[in-house]
């Protein structure tokens, strides 16, 4: 079950090697994103695109404010 995490937890996960994924449209990613994040827009998120992620490492997804 996905876990909701706050900023402190995100920073800890990243320090431990988690993958950071922005799920907003690609244009918004190009405009501004968190350092080291990869773009995986929700509309394109399927088994093929998710194959870019390493299943052995934690994943942190984010959008603008959760909505």
């Amino acid at each position: 079950m996905p876990r909701s995490v706050d900023l402190a937890q995100v920073r800890r996960l990243l320090a431990e090697g988690a993958q950071l994924v922005e799920v907003l449209p690609a244009a918004e990613f190009a405009e501004e994103h968190l350092p080291g994040a990869m773009s995986l827009p929700l509309k394109d998120l399927d088994a093929r695109t998710a194959a870019r992620l390493d299943r052995r490492r934690p994943v942190v997804v984010y959008c603008y404010d959760g909505l």
Partner: protein, 168 residues
């Protein structure tokens, strides 16, 4: 949007999925680094004085007078041990107060603050429109990022326009 993405990844077999619900808005409002085209636009947090005059609630007025000294600062910020902004003490209030009074007795509680991800040029405009010289910049939790001084920012923004964006 991120909750749906998290559930979709779980359905695709990912076992350790975390949803940073507060997202980019929260990250930027905490003044943390960013990448992308907009990263070249200076934010308020890029141009603050990160070490303005501060004091603790129990410090005496006599000590605050020493700290403010004859410098150009118009106020001190009262911080707790977590650097949360509790109040502001103006130079004028210090001159009128008893030397033995505490900072908490003479401070203005809960001064207005802005987040570090306000575009610096917009903040300069807002301050100018209101006849203000500075703004206190904090995270959403109230932790001090610094003081944004309008004149300093105008100079630095002018320099950035001449030489390119700031390095974070």
């Amino acid at each position: 949007m991120s909750p749906r993405a998290a559930w979709r990844l779980e359905a695709l077999g990912f076992e350790d999925v975390n949803d940073y619900v507060a997202g980019k808005a929260d990250w930027l409002a905490n003044g943390l680094p960013r990448e992308g085209r907009a990263a070249t636009v200076p934010y308020a947090g890029d141009l603050v004085d990160a070490d303005p005059p501060t004091c603790r609630p129990g410090d005496t007025v006599a000590r605050l007078r020493e700290r403010l000294g004859g410098g150009g600062d118009a106020f001190l910020l009262v911080l707790n041990e977590r650097r949360i902004v509790l109040g502001r003490v103006r130079r004028g209030a210090l001159l009128r107060a008893e030397p033995s009074a505490g900072a908490v007795d003479v401070m203005e509680p809960g001064p207005s603050t802005v987040r570090p991800n306000v575009p610096a040029r917009d903040l300069v405009r807002r301050l100018t429109d209101r006849g203000l010289g500075s703004a206190i910049v904090t995270t959403p939790a109230g932790r001090l990022v610094g003081v944004f001084r309008r004149r300093d920012a105008e100079e630095r923004l002018g320099g950035i326009e001449r030489s390119g964006p700031p390095h974070r």
